[in-house]
Symmetry: C2
Amino acid sequence: MNMTLVTKPHDRLAAALSTEMAEVDLLIRTRMHSDHAPRIPEITAHLVSAGGKRLRPMLTLAAAKLCGYQGEHHLGLAATVEFIHTATLLHDDVVDESEKRRGRPTANLLWDNKSSVLVGDYLFSRSFQLMVATGNLRVLEILANASATISEGEVLQMTAASDLKTDEDIYLQVVRGKTAALFSAATEVGGVIAGATPEAVAALFAYGDALGIAFQIADDLLDYQGDSGATGKNVGDDFRERKLTLPVIKAVAQADEAERAFWTRTIEKGQQQDGDLEQALALMAKYDTLAATRRDAEAWAAKAQQALTALPAHEIREMLHDLAGYVVSRLS
Amino acid sequence: MNMTLVTKPHDRLAAALSTEMAEVDLLIRTRMHSDHAPRIPEITAHLVSAGGKRLRPMLTLAAAKLCGYQGEHHLGLAATVEFIHTATLLHDDVVDESEKRRGRPTANLLWDNKSSVLVGDYLFSRSFQLMVATGNLRVLEILANASATISEGEVLQMTAASDLKTDEDIYLQVVRGKTAALFSAATEVGGVIAGATPEAVAALFAYGDALGIAFQIADDLLDYQGDSGATGKNVGDDFRERKLTLPVIKAVAQADEAERAFWTRTIEKGQQQDGDLEQALALMAKYDTLAATRRDAEAWAAKAQQALTALPAHEIREMLHDLAGYVVSRLS
């Protein structure tokens, strides 16, 4: 039996990069530490040390290795990327909690808000110190621009999420901010720090961008078709939270007058009642938008794989290829 | 009548730097703009465009001018410093509001929380892009370290503010994070971008650090002795919000057993009742801690003025000297 067929691409990447990932983990734990504010590691420990998938730092390490990098700065950049990701999660928590428990947060929840904001800022500042330590201005420029795209995307999502005027272009901007900007920055800085050619760097950017978009579209699709055991989410959470994602955007675009009134009531006005989720799913089925969304995700995954052809043949390149395929293989 | 005696030093600085400040204002308005998220300028406009004192960006411009800088990067750095300041204010709002209205924020308040977190992040990312544009790694290092000090200080304040074990050393760390770190970074990067000697850069750092500390101690003192018309705050706000500041820390350090029980009840446990503020003021009077606090502020202002003697004679240097004196002149 061929190992490449039975092991998930993510796990094969983790195995190929295990030495470097151990150093990144150590760096993360060290830099999280604060002499002045011992509370910080307490709060971040469960987020950063819990050993999540660590997909983003792995992308940086993979890109650098694929481009033959021999130095050590890729470790700091991988930690940078994970810190930015974690800080974003912390700030998202504040935003999401405010929405979900509108009007009655508990005292404990508020304490968490304080911690989330300030410790998120602390992680941003730590990531900033780590990237400055590379001494590479191009790397700093890429990460500064990614940060701006991420925060613009978050603000855009705040206003666009429940607005029926949100079309596929705006959705794509939100997705780039939410997911793809950090993926593409992660792969791009790996190439830049390795001194790769402009063509290779552009290919790494294109791979990360397309992979991130495929990843987020898949996530949004699974919200409507996943089984809650596998995803940890309930089917229709995005509908209940009035978040316009691609399957609904495609249905809204084709809606007749009565259907449009339904989407206006449930998403824009948030007046939901029993049976609405079933009705939403029926409208998505009527226009076959789940299948169309899956095709979009697959097209982005194919685009990611296509970008890799500009890079040198390497076992890591094959793993990145398989990773893009795996992201959408969950969908069918 | 001598103009230098009747005009506030801050206004004289603003007049001497008016051309550059106009360019900084323009830069701030331009960089605040977001094509993707038009909501951003709405939210920040009242903060950034309202034409506050702009003390921090003025310090950067002043330092660069004092060191004979002829380029344009000081403008971007001044805008950077103002963006960091504004982002910090936005994130502080989230933190302070959660405390003040514990348990019952309004929906409007929550919307503000979301906006405050995300738009604060946006301003941080914009400031990051502006500083990268200088192409000066030492500047980036200074601002990265200042960011870390600021966010560590905020987290430290969160845990230390109502803890009677907080002594003058911890208070100073909090003050550096809250105020002095951005003052000293503002003056230091002005010197660095101007290519000043290491001695001059160190003097600018020392000036900003001491000025920031004097400024914050003065602010904390005015909370107990100011008239609310001038400061916009009510006497004793810090006491009601259970914030340990220098006048109280000095009283706690000399407290007998009964007094310590009073501070434990009112600050640590937050069980306040009518007459407590008067009792707190009486204890501060008993140990004359308001006068001792004023002497501390004056000593830091003198230290700031002393630091300036290492810098070239210049009308700007005189204004910075007078500014340090002015910060504490409000106290007597």
